[in-house]
């Protein structure tokens, strides 16, 4: 019985000694995978001096987007994370994993036909990612917005939705890693 008690005491002391971590000050974690900024660069076709750059940070755009009825715009979208306090583009990562990503566009309060351009990235299933698009505006905006979403790991994507001539896009499944809403005036 005495030997067992001795073993038991040693057992307990061993646990106490080897399991105390102490209370060291932990380092902060900077989340590099979070999309901290989305930028939309909108250039009026035939008027390359008219360029709007919208930055979307923390759920808010820095300004509304101006779109006129009857005009066409070339649009590119970029996604950024933060590293050492500086924004860094995630485009390379998204393009490298193109088959896991897809961008959709929705217009409310304004009519637009969207085409995914020849310069856009093409996934291995033949669908275009949606990084570079062309918007043909066919009505004046009335309390309008555009919703842009970057989906990750969708089960299926459709880059000809609602039609081959209006390629706003649609997904089945997946999660939105970026979901931004920009006012249009």
């Amino acid at each position: 019985m005495k030997n067992i008690l001795n073993i038991a005491v040693l057992f307990s002391l061993a646990f106490i000694m080897f399991s105390c971590r102490g209370n060291d000050v932990p380092e902060d974690i900077h989340e590099h995978e979070e999309i901290e900024k989305v930028t939309l660069t909108v250039t009026e076709s035939g008027n390359t001096g008219n360029v709007q750059t919208i930055s979307y940070i923390g759920g808010n755009a820095n300004s509304p987007l101006t779109l006129e009825n009857g005009k066409t715009y070339s649009v590119s979208v970029d996604f950024f994370h933060k590293h050492d306090g500086e924004y860094e583009s995630m485009l390379d990562e998204i393009i490298e994993e193109k088959d896991q990503h897809f961008i959709t566009y929705e217009f409310g309060g304004i009519t637009a036909n969207l085409m995914r351009t020849n310069g856009d990235v093409v996934r291995n299933d033949g669908k275009k990612l949606g990084l570079k698009t062309e918007w043909n505006i066919t009505s004046a905006p009335v309390l309008a917005k555009v919703f842009i979403k970057l989906y990750h790991q969708s089960v299926a994507v459709d880059d000809h939705f609602p039609s081959a001539s209006n390629q706003q896009g649609k997904v089945t499944g997946g999660e939105a890693d970026a979901d931004i809403k920009i006012d249009i005036q």
């Binding site: 067992i4 307990s12 902060d28 759920g59 990562e93 309008a144 999660e175």
Partner: protein, 794 residues
């Protein structure tokens, strides 16, 4: 069981040396640990036999001089034999070790019994082995007043009287589980088949286990071994149709007559994707393995036990329930059915949980005559929880949360028993170290912290008469948190900077490091009586005050909880949650047909600072809109009733009926409390054969009514429909319809040691959703499942 002899010599008027050949031997028989007299003990000296009378006195008028053999027998004791030298008149006091408590523990089967003044619902070894493939939450669901909070169908937490998480204490072989129980999606890490019985104390009143058990206490108790030189054990193999899975387990025990024992056991369970009516849900498989080992010696007078157990669990989370933000939620709810169906697989992918839990325990006790029983226990636990979400790029293989929780517990107890009263006291200390691993590269939801607890308690019981027993107890607990936490500066300035400036350590950019050191003092009390005026009626009444230190999530949670797609916000200013409880129980036994037992147990809880987690607003982010869930304190009231009926229709056929209903109110916000159990009924008819075949059939109905009382905390979202921006309600508040299920089970014994059981859950493959399943929005509950269990006992 031993008899202890104390010899007390008296002259009895006989002096000098007298050449007599016989002597008078007399004495009394008493209980060792409480000194109560024991009547009807048969005492034999040589060829002379007598029985202790009503006064517990025995007398032998003439025992021959010389060496005699003394034996003593009592209905609840083993026979004791010892040599006795008779060379003068003797007065003996024979102390008998009355193992009434232990025997009661072994013999009790399912149903309710009273442990002290508290009514306890028990699941027997038979219940556990017939449901060996079930987790703890689902196993306890058959008890009135107990429901389950689920995240999918593998992650199941018990809910007692509407309360769960930190308000339910779970004891694994005497060790209080420390396993991040604050999480609604954190199931208890327990392998149920390693236990002989599960006792559930509903409501407060067992303050010796802890002062924070406002909901109740679950006690998982191992087998008590008889003093025999033998090897015993069992082996189980179950085939589970839903999930096309299997579970197997072995448990062995080697015991010796001198009360030494060694036990060992292990289980393994594997399930593939789970089946709902007409489909399987992708990524809902599970894999578990466990092992346990113990050795020691347990006799009535003293004992020592060293034990170790480990369980490792991996649960897939339904792929269709993993969301970005509220817009994703709205999209998922408005699809007719999920896209993540069928294509059955055993492989578990992200999102998933992996949890490992280790417990090592050392326990010693010793009884002293007059001084009572002293016990000492040290327990070490390590809980390692990893939660994997769908992550991007190089982070895709990393968990989003990696928590290591180490807990050391030391407790010292004392039990003093006398004929009419007993007093049980204890003192304990607890140290906890929580480490969220930064290698996840995801912001910590729960911070680094150390937690220190110290507690002291005493419970006094007094037996006024055979009809009336009373109890009163008092407990004090002290808790200190010492945490390191990073906040966004804007969040800190808005919420805490004016109240806790002393916690600030450093600032860097938009982030601030604070070191909250919070202390809590908890005073807990209870008083109760048990009244048994006759054999056919008994009643208990219990008043309690519990006091609970807020858990780590309630204080420190901050940020996006990925798997739940919500933002959680704790509050450093939360005070301890003090609640007041009234528990009543009235039970009767009547000679109707083959015997009727009926028990009705109403209860009431009231708190001025009930900690509640509720949606309070929304937050815009680049991922979209997320609902914010805040931890708040509010005035709350919960009252309800459990009713249990058991009617023996004849000596083979039994009807069992259970009913539970409760009402919970947030009195401050004038709305119902969230996640309250709906009223439910459970009725079963069981037929058992009278011969040795162990044949039985059981048909059960489980009916759960719709929960019509819930807080309406929905979210309004802007969506685009037909080219226009419209506002739509994301309704996460409404509850599903009522449902009714049938379950069937049957079993038969083959030879002496072999049993075959068949269980069919959801016999009619009913499609239904449960109000307490957090993933109910995305898929219905499980469809039909057939479980075939082969059980060998030796």
């Amino acid at each position: 069981m031993k008899f202890y002899l104390i010899f007390w010599f008296s002259l009895l008027g006989i002096t000098g040396i007298h050449a007599q050949s016989t002597f008078r031997v007399e004495g009394k028989t008493i209980d060792f640990h409480n000194s109560s007299p024991l009547a009807n003990a048969e005492v034999r000296i040589g060829n002379h036999k007598t029985v202790s009378d009503a006064e517990r006195i025995f007398v032998f008028k003439s025992i021959p001089e010389g060496l005699q053999i003394l034996t003593a027998k009592h209905p609840d004791c083993e026979v004791f034999t010892e040599e006795l030298t008779v060379d003068r008149p003797l007065r003996l006091t024979i102390k008998l070790e009355h193992h009434a408590t232990e025997i009661e523990e072994v013999q009790i089967s399912s149903g309710h019994r009273t442990k002290g003044l508290i009514t306890v619902a028990a699941l027997s070894k038979e219940d556990i082995s017939q449901n060996s493939s079930e987790n703890l939450g689902n196993l306890l669901r058959s008890i009135s007043g107990v429901s389950t909070l689920k995240t999918g169908n593998n992650i199941v937490k018990p809910v007692i009287h509407g309360l769960y998480g930190s308000r339910i204490l779970i004891f694994n072989n005497g060790v209080r589980m420390a396993e991040q129980e604050w999480g609604a999606e954190h199931a208890p890490n327990i392998e149920t088949t390693a236990f002989n019985r599960i006792n559930v104390v509903k409501g407060a009143g067992m303050l010796k286990y802890g002062g924070d058990a406002a909901g109740g206490t679950v006690l998982l108790e191992p087998r008590i071994f008889p003093p025999k030189d033998t090897l015993t054990g069992n082996a189980t193999l179950s085939f589970i149709s839903n999930g096309r899975g299997v579970k197997t387990g072995v448990q062995l025990a080697r015991t010796w007559e001198n009360r030494w024992f060694v036990t060992a056991g292990g289980t393994y369970k594997k399930l593939g994707d789970l089946y709902i009516p007409h489909h399987t849900l992708q990524n809902t498989g599970a894999e578990e393995h466990s092992l346990n080992f113990s050795f020691g010696k347990r006799s009535f007078m003293q004992g020592i036990e060293l034990s170790y157990s480990h369980i490792n669990q991996e649960f897939g989370i339904f792929r269709g329930a993993h969301l970005g933000g509220s817009e994703d939620f709205y999209r998922a709810l408005n699809n007719e059915k999920s896209v993540y169906l069928d294509d059955f697989q055993y492989q578990i992918q992200h999102p998933k949980q992996e949890v490992g839990h280790h417990i090592a325990k050392m326990e010693m006790y010793k009884r002293f005559y007059n001084a009572g029983k002293f016990s000492l226990q040290y327990a070490f636990q390590l809980n390692h929880r990893k939660e994997y979400d769908i992550r991007r790029g190089e982070y895709s293989t990393l968990p989003s949360m990696d928590l290591k929780l180490m807990t050391h517990n030391l407790k010292f107890g004392h039990l003093l028993e006398r004929e009419k009263w007993q007093i049980e006291s204890g003192i304990e200390g607890n140290f906890q170290d929580n480490f969220p691993d930064p290698s996840t590269q995801a912001r910590r939801l729960i911070p680094d912290y150390l937690r220190y607890d110290a507690g002291i308690f005493s419970v006094f019981q007094y037996q006024f008469s055979d009809q009336l027993k009373a109890e009163a107890g008092l407990r004090y607990d002290f808790t200190q948190y010492d945490a390191y936490k990073y906040y966004d500066r804007s969040e800190w300035d808005q919420r805490f900077s004016d109240r806790f400036p002393q916690f600030v350590m450093s600032e860097s950019g938009s982030r601030i490091l604070v070191r909250p050191q919070l202390q809590f003092h908890n005073i807990v009390a209870n008083a109760g009586i048990r009244f048994t005026p006759s054999e056919i009626f008994s009643g208990t009444f219990n008043l309690s005050q519990t006091s609970r230190t807020p858990n780590a999530a309630e204080l420190f949670a901050d940020g996006l909880h990925h798997s739940a797609a919500i933002i959680e916000k704790g509050d450093l200013s939360l005070q301890q949650e003090v609640s007041y409880h009234i528990n009543l129980s009235a039970a009767t036994k009547l000679n109707i047909l083959n015997g009727l037992q009926l028990e009705v147990s109403p209860y009431l809880l009231f708190s001025d600072n009930f900690i509640n987690q509720l949606p309070t607003g929304i937050q815009n982010s680049n991922r979209g809109v997320f609902m914010i869930w805040d931890y708040q304190q509010t005035r709350a009231r919960i009252f309800g009733v459990d009713a249990d009926l058991e009617l023996g229709i004849n000596d083979q056929l039994t009807w069992i009926s259970r009913f539970s209903a409760l009402r919970g109110d947030d009195l401050e916000n004038q709305e119902p409390l969230i996640l309250m159990m709906p009223a439910n009924f459970r009725n079963s008819i069981e037929w058992k054969s009278k011969n040795n075949s162990r044949l039985f059939f059981k048909l059960e109905n489980e009916t759960v009514l719709k929960q019509n009382r819930f807080p309406i905390r929905n979210q309004i979202l802007d969506v685009i429909e037909n080219g226009a921006i419209v506002s739509r309600t994301l309704d996460t508040s409404s509850t599903p319809s009522a449902y009714s299920l049938f379950h069937f089970s049957a079993g038969i014994g083959i030879l002496k040691n072999f049993n075959i059981n068949v269980t069919v859950n959801n016999l009619l493959n009913t499609e239904y959703r449960d109000a307490l399943n957090r993933l109910r929005y995305f898929a219905p509950e499980l469809g039909r499942s057939l479980i075939l269990t082969l059980h060998y006992q030796f």
